[in-house]
């Protein structure tokens, strides 16, 4: 538990000082929003409502990949990762600390991107803010647990920026399908649909 809290504190403090992870994730996500804004018809059309959840989660996933890569590459500076490996503790606590820090930073970025996305694409996200936040939280839990694990695996590999998405994206398909479907149902009906039938329907 000590290690979990220490790693969480250290990662958040480091990010607060440098802001390099959050800024990179935000800029990248905003770029995605801008590109989609120019390539898709504007206004709250039914086509837009059908497409928006997928686009939003694409922005979230790409932003998260940037964040996961940085979360462990910072441990390579001065070989701090060896310092963590030498700790007489269950390494699961290190994973939990890293994953929670990733979740907090991703959550901050997601909140801003959702607001921008809602404004740009005229989506009524405010009306469904609470259930939407729940969907994003659950989806992000899946993203961060899988992403943090594979970022740890990929960190010592030569092409870690390429390795991470290759490793994590296939495993994230069920999480993303569920998150996109739940977001779609929220935007279309204003209600959450957690039914897993869609997996069989696909």
């Amino acid at each position: 538990m000590n290690v979990f809290l220490a790693v969480l504190w250290k990662d958040l403090l480091t990010e607060w000082r440098s802001r390099d992870r959050a800024v990179a994730m935000l800029l990248f996500s905003l770029l995605v929003v801008v590109v989609f804004h120019f390539s898709l018809p504007g206004g709250a059309t039914s086509k837009m409502e059908a497409t928006a959840p997928g686009l939003l989660w694409i922005a979230y996933v790409f932003a998260s990949i940037l964040g996961f890569n940085r979360a462990f590459s910072m441990e390579l500076e001065n070989d701090a990762l060896s310092g963590i490996a030498l700790l007489p503790t269950d390494r699961g606590w290190v994973f939990l600390g890293k994953a929670t820090a990733n979740l907090v930073i991703l959550g901050f970025v997601q909140a801003i991107i959702a607001a921008v996305f809602g404004l740009v694409f005229e989506l009524a996200l405010l009306e469904v803010a609470a259930p939407f936040a729940l969907v994003v939280l659950l989806g992000s839990l899946g993203l961060c647990s899988v992403g943090t694990l594979f970022a740890a695996v990929a960190v010592r590999t030569r092409f870690r920026e390429v390795m991470l998405p290759l490793l994590m994206l296939p495993l994230l398909i069920p999480v993303l399908l569920g998150a996109v479907r739940a977001t779609s149902s929220l935007l279309a009906t204003g209600e959450l649909d957690f039914s897993a039938d869609f997996v069989l329907d696909e």
Partner: protein, 236 residues
């Protein structure tokens, strides 16, 4: 018979077909300062990683205080100080030590950090980011980080790398202080003169084997240098 601080028996480490270490046998009592020297690729760092529990031997046994080196509890008895400082540049000196102290579950992380900063003469710069430290200051902070949990065994991996002469002299005297505290030290270094200065025993590695060992008496600098050069020539 007293349990040795470190005991290696027929230790072997392979990476695929490549043999990094083979037939390594040695045993040192508590409080010994062991220098491990040898040319590049001799297996020094691999041996240190095995002792630190960061890698597992392919064959043979390696025990720290009677316990297998890769056991979790064993890692708590080890401190590591290397040319890589293990520090986070964005954190201040104090925050780096508080982080390490928290990770080791110490009861008063801030108090421990302040005590170590005072020991290393870093109290005036305690609130400066470690990323702005000179190499010598960073190395002193790395010493404090390595000793934060008061380890019985301290592993020193090329700690003189990048230090100027006066900083290296200061560091050698700090190592001497660790010896006087009764810690067991394992020093991996290319700097044979400094190694001889701080060691009670030494092994010279060449091609993953012990080419020469000095266990009966503290190694003489000239003798150790001669053995080191011979190991390098044998490799060529």
């Amino acid at each position: 018979m007293k349990t040795p601080a470190i005991a290696a028996s027929n230790l072997e480490k392979r990476f695929g077909r490549a043999v990094a270490l083979r037939g390594i046998d040695f045993s040192i009592p508590d409080g010994t300062s062991l220098a491990v020297v040898g040319p590049n690729g001799a297996g020094k760092s691999t041996l240190l990683r095995l002792i630190a529990g960061l890698a597992r031997p392919t064959a043979g046994t390696l025990q720290i205080g009677g316990d297998d080196s890769h056991r979790r509890a064993t890692r708590g008895r080890l401190g590591y100080i290397g040319h890589a400082t293990l520090l986070y540049p964005a954190l201040t000196a104090r925050e780096n030590l508080i982080f390490a102290a928290r990770c080791y579950g110490l009861p008063d992380p801030a108090g421990r950090a302040d005590a170590l900063l005072a020991d290393e003469g870093l109290a005036p710069v305690a609130d400066r980011a470690a990323g702005g430290f000179s190499r010598g200051m960073a190395q002193r902070l790395a010493i404090a980080r390595g000793l934060v949990h008061d380890p019985k065994v301290v592993l020193l991996d090329e700690p003189f790398t990048g230090l100027d002469r006066s900083a290296a002299e200061r560091f050698a005297s700090r190592i001497d202080g660790m010896r006087r505290d009764g810690r067991t030290l394992v020093l991996v270094s290319h700097d044979v003169r400094f190694a001889a200065q701080v060691a009670d025993a030494a092994i010279v590695l060449s091609d993953g084997r012990i080419a020469q060992a000095f266990f009966d008496a503290p190694p003489d600098a000239a003798e150790l240098e001669h053995a080191y050069l011979a190991a390098g020539e044998a490799r060529q």
